[in-house]
């Protein structure tokens, strides 16, 4: 036990940037948390207070070896020292770190190989959790209760657990799936715009006008999109336009109706047997509001009649802090599973 409480670090790395937070877990909370975790709607770990945080607008790059661990480390280590200094804990070491990252399962080999040793050497970190961003979203949204979280921003993944094992659906990225997510909706909206431009069936003149207002003449759109490393984010940037048009534009409304169907199908595939637990919707996509939420509630009522759709209690960054706090306090944790939630240390 560290006298005066422990410091923990949480990282949330996604398609449009990454965030780092320093959390304070005090001794009393750790003891209480260790004692009470496992009860009904418990948090993912002992209570943790966010002491300081930083946001970065650049996503961690993905190269031939997967997510670039060295690039992340070069930024994470100095930021961790700055946050500790800001919190008046200069020179202290974090008791645990939890990193949630998009693509952790398929693209996280380098993180798993490099981070445990590098964070021990650079910051004296003895306990580390590497989690899929879906797991940190789950921890932030539902804590340590059974149910399902749909995390949707640029991408989309559904994750459910009965607290014994995880079930995951989608989260395959913008070329293989993420059906109903921000890039999916934006891409479908841009396709409808280009159909109108070409005179193909299924086009939306209204979405064409919005696409030209945002990106200029559509002839230049491929040249603007394909060379960029953040193609999925560019596609997702058009999703709010689709939502804004939905009330007056049947093509835009149909895109969102199809998105709602995909999202409910992903939730239904992972929800605990018997329909136990809530379905939490989390992530920036749901800020587009009713044009998506109204058809989504209908689809969820049809496919998961027993489940209650709820708002997320907290975000993935708070979920990362909660996982780190549980790790620091030896408190009961969410199920560990390679690629979804890996832990390292003593």
């Amino acid at each position: 036990m560290i006298p005066g409480g422990a410091w923990v670090l949480g990282v949330d790395s996604g398609g449009s940037g990454f965030r780092v937070a320093l959390g304070a877990v005090d001794d009393a909370a750790r003891t209480a948390g260790g004692g009470t975790a496992g009860s009904g709607a418990a948090a993912a770990g002992p209570p943790v207070r966010t002491a300081a945080a930083r946001s970065f607008d650049t996503p961690v790059p993905t190269g031939p070896g997967g997510i670039d661990a060295e690039w992340l480390l070069e930024r994470l280590v100095p930021v961790a020292r700055t946050l500790l200094a800001e919190a008046g804990a200069d020179g202290r070491r974090p008791a645990a770190v939890a990193v949630g990252a998009a693509g952790m399962a398929g693209l996280g080999d380098r993180l798993r190989a490099v981070l445990p040793g590098a964070l021990r050497d650079a910051l004296g970190v003895r306990r580390l959790a590497l989690a899929s961003d879906a797991v940190t979203a789950y921890a932030g949204a539902l804590g340590r209760a059974p149910g399902t979280v749909v995390a949707a921003g640029t991408g989309l993944v559904a994750l459910g657990t009965d607290l014994l094992r995880w079930r995951r659906a989608d989260g395959w990225g913008h070329l293989l799936g993420d059906c109903g997510g921000g890039a999916w909706i934006g891409r479908a909206g841009l396709e409808a715009a280009l159909r109108a431009h070409d005179g193909r069936r299924g086009g939306s003149p209204g979405l064409l006008a919005r696409a030209e207002a945002l990106f200029g003449p559509v002839a230049g759109l491929p040249g603007q999109l394909y060379p960029r490393p953040d193609r999925a984010a560019v596609l997702a940037s058009f999703a709010p336009e689709v939502a804004r048009r939905a009330a007056d534009d049947p093509v835009a409304a149909d895109v969102l109706a199809r998105a709602a169907r995909h999202i409910a199908e992903a939730a239904a595939a992972v929800h605990p047997a018997g329909g136990v637990g809530d379905v939490a919707l989390t992530g920036g996509l749901f800020r587009i509001g009713d044009p998506l939420l109204v058809p989504l509630r209908d689809e969820l009522a049809r496919r998961l009649p027993g489940a209650r759709p709820v708002s997320a209690a907290g975000d993935p960054l708070s979920g990362a802090l909660a996982i780190a706090a549980a790790l620091a306090a030896d408190a009961p944790a969410l199920p560990r599973e390679p690629g979804l939630l890996d832990t390292y240390g003593d």
Copy 2:
């Protein structure tokens, strides 16, 4: 007039590589071609015989400035000299060059800025045509007759003309369209495989088995796909698997039925008014055969009842040679239009 005939170069640059051919246009043919072009089912230019050719498996890269003109030049100039030498025309200069490239309209600025001067300096070329790959496909498939060509490989574009102007549909690339093309079909097939893996509705266990046979466990698929520069080609490599499963797998058959609908919609959007002319299908995609062609013929009959579906007379590389031969001989040519068919020189 060059005594003894003229040499012309054709280039066909696509998503999975590029090809270069040297063509011989003899004086008699040039005169005859110049005299007869414009008649009914005429070729795009005077008759031209392929003297030598080379294929390259690496696609011309696309960077922040669009299609990489310097990269192409570094390869094209020595190959042109080699082909001339092989044809016994060492030291001769090509009378005209035609380059057909995927993405020419949106990504061809650098080619248009660099190639006219560079090919004149390096090879003494005085006449150059820069064409969309759809235009070279049209020239190869239908020559100088009105109608529509659907060119489909990794991507898909439909191009129609009444010989006064062009109409183009799709060809927007794998993120914005190319609906019904190879990458589109392969992507839809892989999505169905991953739906089966996740337990989502709409999955195909048969396509999942094929995806795992080709790419290994699907958990590794994002890591194999996203870091690659040729993502669209990787997706398209799965299209033949979808076709092979279509007879026994309703999910695979539905992917191809939707592809057929998209293809016919693109053809219908560009076909000359009144239904005049043939619809030619060209490109590697159609080698997957009946699983796509049977539903496609049905869709074309429904949407373009007056048009006759035909096989292409020649490929896009022969179309590039025909355009170069017409340019060399001052013969009537297909309609010129910025981004589709630009010509340079005296």
